[in-house]
Symmetry: D3
Subunit: 162 residues, 6 copies
């Protein structure tokens, strides 16, 4: 039986921290589906197409990775895709509190889905999409938080699209 | 002397977690006033009348429970109602940080009011108004987080009122 | 029906923080039993008689307060004493983690007992029996952490008894 | 390639929480080795043989589970056993702090070993070996925290062996 | 060599907690620059001029204190001003999580800048700009959280300016 | 006026984390006194002379650093040495809870002493004397957590002295 995991997030944008998590999780599973969540009534910093194209670029050579968008309940998506696992990273106690709530809710909605956690390594604990956006808003260069596949130019231009 | 407690919140909506807290706190006090806070300049997910009517339905057979709305400082409301206690639930460390700030502020504004805490039992720690709203936004069914007095239909329709 | 609470602890020694908690909790209950826990196979810093005599001195004029010793499961003691409530203070997130575990265990052992929490006011968050003992070990004066009924001399002499 | 995980602990004793973790983790791996850590210079509550025999009893019908004892550095044991993963549960923020330290240390000692975390479900967050021991010390019945394979009698007798 | 620190914040408004931090930090440094951060695309509760004029009033007699506004990356401002230190206060675990992220990010952007922390004393842990704004929104008097240099009238009028 | 700080600890042993803290704190102060605390009634892993000789070796070329032993209340030592500051590192929320208690107690015992905190950088958050001792107990090599001045051999031999 194939071991499939879903890695859900808004990835606004997908950072070095997300990439590190994927690289460490890939050996555990047969396939990982990166589920780019969006909320049609809520604005994102980078638009959905930009976010997805960047992730595709990063994993273009890895056949075990699939990228898809979804605007719904994560456990429903898991069921539709045959995934039994959800993959998540934990940086700190604040993350833990949030993840506990989500994992417990998912269990109530579908008890067959298991959430697997990896801890963020210390050198990435401050890497977050929020920090990237904050640096860009203040005119700084956030490329040190991004996978090398996304250039500093692309990062700045990405936002200008909307 | 009557022991009166105020249970303040926005209750947007009142969940199974709030109901559990009330049931465990009722034996301690002679009367509990559920104070539905609102902020005229801020939108709620469910409108004030809907929120209040649901709470009234849940406690309609309990003469010790009173429901009222208020848009002001909680300790002022306590003084006006003759309540000496504020009732609050704590789920986790994030709640604790928040509640410490509020309780300490209330003590500075009126040192006679005491805040009493109950811990949320583990099976309800993920139940929150925020999760209910989030599931509804994504088109899911959140009735498993709600008191049985509020049907799945009412929950969905409630929001449509505005 | 009488509202009886048990305030369990090792009270090694009973500090200003414990006294503050009692004073704030007394209006809520008809009677509070201070249950001085001991473990016959474990050494305490102050012996059991000293600990109990100090607490008796502090509350000698308050007929609502009872002091007793117990070496067993707290919920069993509650049942024997007709107490339905356990009283506890919370200072910080570490306390919360500990108290959640204890309260959940008590619920599993006897679901009728409810634990009521008060938050320690900020000026007492560093007051603990551990700090008192630590200062005494290093030859300092810890009387500023103790109820005024216990003199600096008694505090130092108390330990010398064993 | 076989996916082998090591589940290290002192398991003094192995509780319902540990069993739940194993059951949820088994589908992810091809084999899980329960490594019962011991420290020859430190006393345990239950002796090593008792602890191991209980775990063997619990998993006697599961060929994917192996039980072994070890008194050394966990990552060294992983290397010797061909295991690339360490399995751990997280109950709360205190656990997280501890696990972060251990995982980061393991990474420094051997960067190829990955630690996989599952969150303890809410109904088991208060289940711990420490609580079991504490209840036994106070003469209570802790069998509600133990896998059904270990009877209340065995639990009490286990300790009497030494 | 002069020891210069930057104390960055939005100070919306500057509270008793900020003033306490400054008073305790001033003996450590030769000069402290209060950097009032603003974000041209984001509304503040009090406008930038009001916030700055209040801080100037509070420190008008202290030649070691300088007040300036800035809308950019803090470490860049430090470099421009010759400051090698950033000054920050920590109230609780939530603050710590936030500050760790910021400090680690600053280190990545400029490794020469060191952040120095003081803990907020317990009597000020609930004092925050957020609480001041919240009390004002609900029509209360928040002057007990403000330096005496800012009157209750100024506080209320300050907001009316926009 | 000289700015003197005391860096108190048991330093059993002094790790790479302690060294990093010192290096970052030295520019802030004119002198830092490393106060090696000991408790005559408590065993340490490395004996007092070994611990002190290692620290002396590490800072032998830095005239701003002084090393001394003390078995008493830290603020009393500060007063005797003319130090107005205590220097401490914070790694995580558990540290913070502990440090808040200590700092608040010190303030009560002597309100003139200020405690200055630096956050431990992420790559050192798992470095602690406890981890070093734990690895040594299990027969591992802990020299990667130690300043280069202390060789792997010295570390192992150090313990054998007692």
């Amino acid at each position: 039986m194939n071991k499939i995991a879903v890695f859900p997030g808004s990835f606004d944008p997908f950072t070095l921290g997300h990439k590190n998590l994927m690289q460490r999780a890939l050996p555990i599973f047969d396939r990982i589906i990166i589920m780019v969540g969006y909320n049609s009534s809520k604005n994102s910093f980078f638009d959905l197409d930009t976010r997805m194209s960047w992730i595709k670029k990063i994993f273009k050579d890895n056949p075990k990775v699939e990228i898809t968008k979804y605007d719904g309940i994560t456990v429903n998506f898991c069921k539709e895709s045959g995934a039994r696992y959800i993959l998540r990273g934990i940086r700190n106690a604040t993350d833990l509190g949030y993840e506990k709530t989500i994992a417990q809710t998912n269990k109530m909605l579908n008890s067959e889905i298991e959430t697997i956690f990896l801890l963020t390594p210390p050198e990435y604990t401050n890497v977050s999409s929020l920090i990237v956006r904050d640096i860009l808003i203040h005119g700084g260069d956030a490329s040190c938080f991004m996978p090398k596949e996304i250039s500093s130019q692309e990062l700045k231009a990405g936002r200008n699209l909307f």
